[in-house]
Symmetry: C2
Subunit: 339 residues, 2 copies
């Protein structure tokens, strides 16, 4: 067994997670042939997404291999959550500069923890030599016709977000300012929580699954609430009125060790513009507030109403996000890997 | 529109190929949302595979963007062919060092030509900045239970190959020896044919589809006939007797401008050990020779009987390939990216 065969054996082992009898999840034949053979659930449609992760672009260079393995899968699971889909299968392409067994072992541990938590199955992959890069392809299932899309928001719908907004941008600031060790030594719970959520975001597949058939549109917050909400608005050809004061902002965003020099008045906007939250932003009919509340209670995840969908009127254009207080269009600055 | 948005628009356009009414191929929602929404064909199983391509590893650095786009998809389609599957959908992750519009345009032209030829649909992707790398994930459909696997070869089965063997290794030698221009100027048809097959292999999806329910096992020849046949033998726990003289070797392999210094006696072995052929190697019951012949005639693709499956006896071990003439086990040297 050469070095890279050894590495591949680590990934192959990940293919055996969640394969106990009764948990096969439609995997007829897993890793090892030219292709995997998969049985889709009856009466379902499939949803698929793919993403590439590159060190220094999608995660800071100093990120631990455990967290890289975890987060690469988490971000893809989050795309399934945004469609209201149940995770089924994924494939993993890893390009590595060298056959570093310790790195790969830790990477696989991180990924395995989320494979177990999400119930997804690894069914194929490829290992190559080159600059560090990870590409993942995920497949999920939805009941036929009930996938959550971006283009279903209607005038009169409420706008919601799950969880808290801003952990991603706060966590990145903690990493860039190298505040992690200090936060740990003085026991700064809020900072540590944002760091944890930045490195190991919790994809909202449980929430997305329950919203299928209830929400009218959904997206996961990867580029920032304002930018991602705009994607819904543009696809649905509508305008949003956003109550910035209602947005549940992560407490760490107010910590003066972060965003140094930024006044408190700007911090709410920073939280709403930062990426890497992996919460869901969704719309639901005004008449179904009780149902949305019930989903939040059942899953013990805050689902907060932050605005409503309105029609294009006057000077407002499709895609605009209007601030409820000032009644002005909010400038949309999000995170762009290439800007 | 920034540079990378422009690049992404090229890939998005590829998602519109094969989308005329009646040709949607189960694509309910294509590129543009968090996920694509896909409707699997009834009574089918899905087969999936993924591969990463890196310049200088999977293709020579001087390969044209057109050929890179073509071949990256071809190699993945070949995995579907090996399972006897009909191509349905694929996703494409491209990492580019810069937003080179001309490069991307040509890359997309190459890929589009094969999208049209194969009838597959591009349903998602990701574009990132970094060292050139392409990851593709393909999905195909087979009738439930009829996927061609590696583990179905039985004692008494015949062994076949499609097309000619050795174009891949000959084509690589032409590129490495920079003989392409000379071959073109003097009209060396055989060399040009191998060069063409090396750069633009023809995945055998039509053959694979017809072999579903007829062949007992199959693999596509990516690492070399001897090595890939061995994968069937090991999965099926059997031994092969190979008639090297019957293997349909590409005429260019005999050309003295290639494999300089190699005696003619060695060239047949070189052809059987070289990778990048993307022909199919498969087994079928001895009683179904007429059916295999009928498939070859129907599709105008030579399907040549090159050996038979025998049991493990005497000194031979599972996985051994026995030379019919010498009755000795053949050494298996294939192409390994990391050897």
């Amino acid at each position: 067994m050469n070095e890279f065969e050894l590495i591949q054996s680590y990934f192959s082992r990940l293919g055996n997670v969640n394969r106990l009898p009764g948990e096969e999840g439609g995997v007829v034949l897993g890793i090892g042939d030219d292709c995997a053979i998969l049985q889709p659930p009856p009466h379902s449609q499939l949803v698929v997404s793919t993403d590439t992760f590159i060190s220094g672009v999608h995660f800071p260079d100093q990120t631990s291999p455990f967290d890289i393995g975890y987060k690469a899968l988490a971000v893809n699971l989050s795309d399934l959550a945004a469609m209201g889909a149940m995770p089924l299968w994924f494939t993993l392409c890893v390009t590595l500069p060298s056959a570093d067994e310790q790195w790969v072992s830790s990477f696989c541990d991180g990924m395995e923890s989320l494979i177990i938590a999400s119930g997804i199955h690894l069914v194929g992959g490829d290992t190559t030599k080159g600059p560090l890069s990870i590409s993942i392809h995920v497949t999920g299932a939805v009941t036929q016709g009930l996938a959550l899309r971006r283009d279903g928001a209607k005038v009169g719908d409420d706008i919601y977000v799950s969880g808290e907004i801003g952990h991603g941008v706060a966590g990145l600031d903690i990493v860039l300012a190298a505040l992690g060790d200090e936060a740990a030594s003085v026991g700064s719970v809020e900072l540590l929580r944002s760091l944890e959520r930045f490195n190991r975001p919790k994809p909202r597949n449980d929430v997305g699954g329950k919203l299928s058939g209830l929400a009218t549109s959904a997206i996961d917050i990867s580029d920032g609430l304002l930018v991602d909400l705009r994607h819904i608005l543009q696809a649905s050809q509508v305008v949003a009125e956003l109550d910035m004061g209602a947005v549940p902002v992560a407490p760490s965003v107010s910590d003066e060790r972060l965003f140094v020099g930024k006044p408190s008045s700007e911090r709410r906007r920073i939280a709403c513009s930062g990426g890497d939250d992996y919460e869901l932003c969704f719309t639901a009919p005004g008449g179904r507030r009780d149902s949305v509340e019930a989903v939040g209670s059942l899953l013990a995840v805050p689902l907060t109403r932050v605005g409503r969908i309105i029609a294009k009127t006057g000077t407002f254009r499709v895609g605009d996000v209007i601030d409820k207080v000032s009644q002005k269009s909010l400038p949309l600055a999000g995170y762009n890997h290439f800007s």
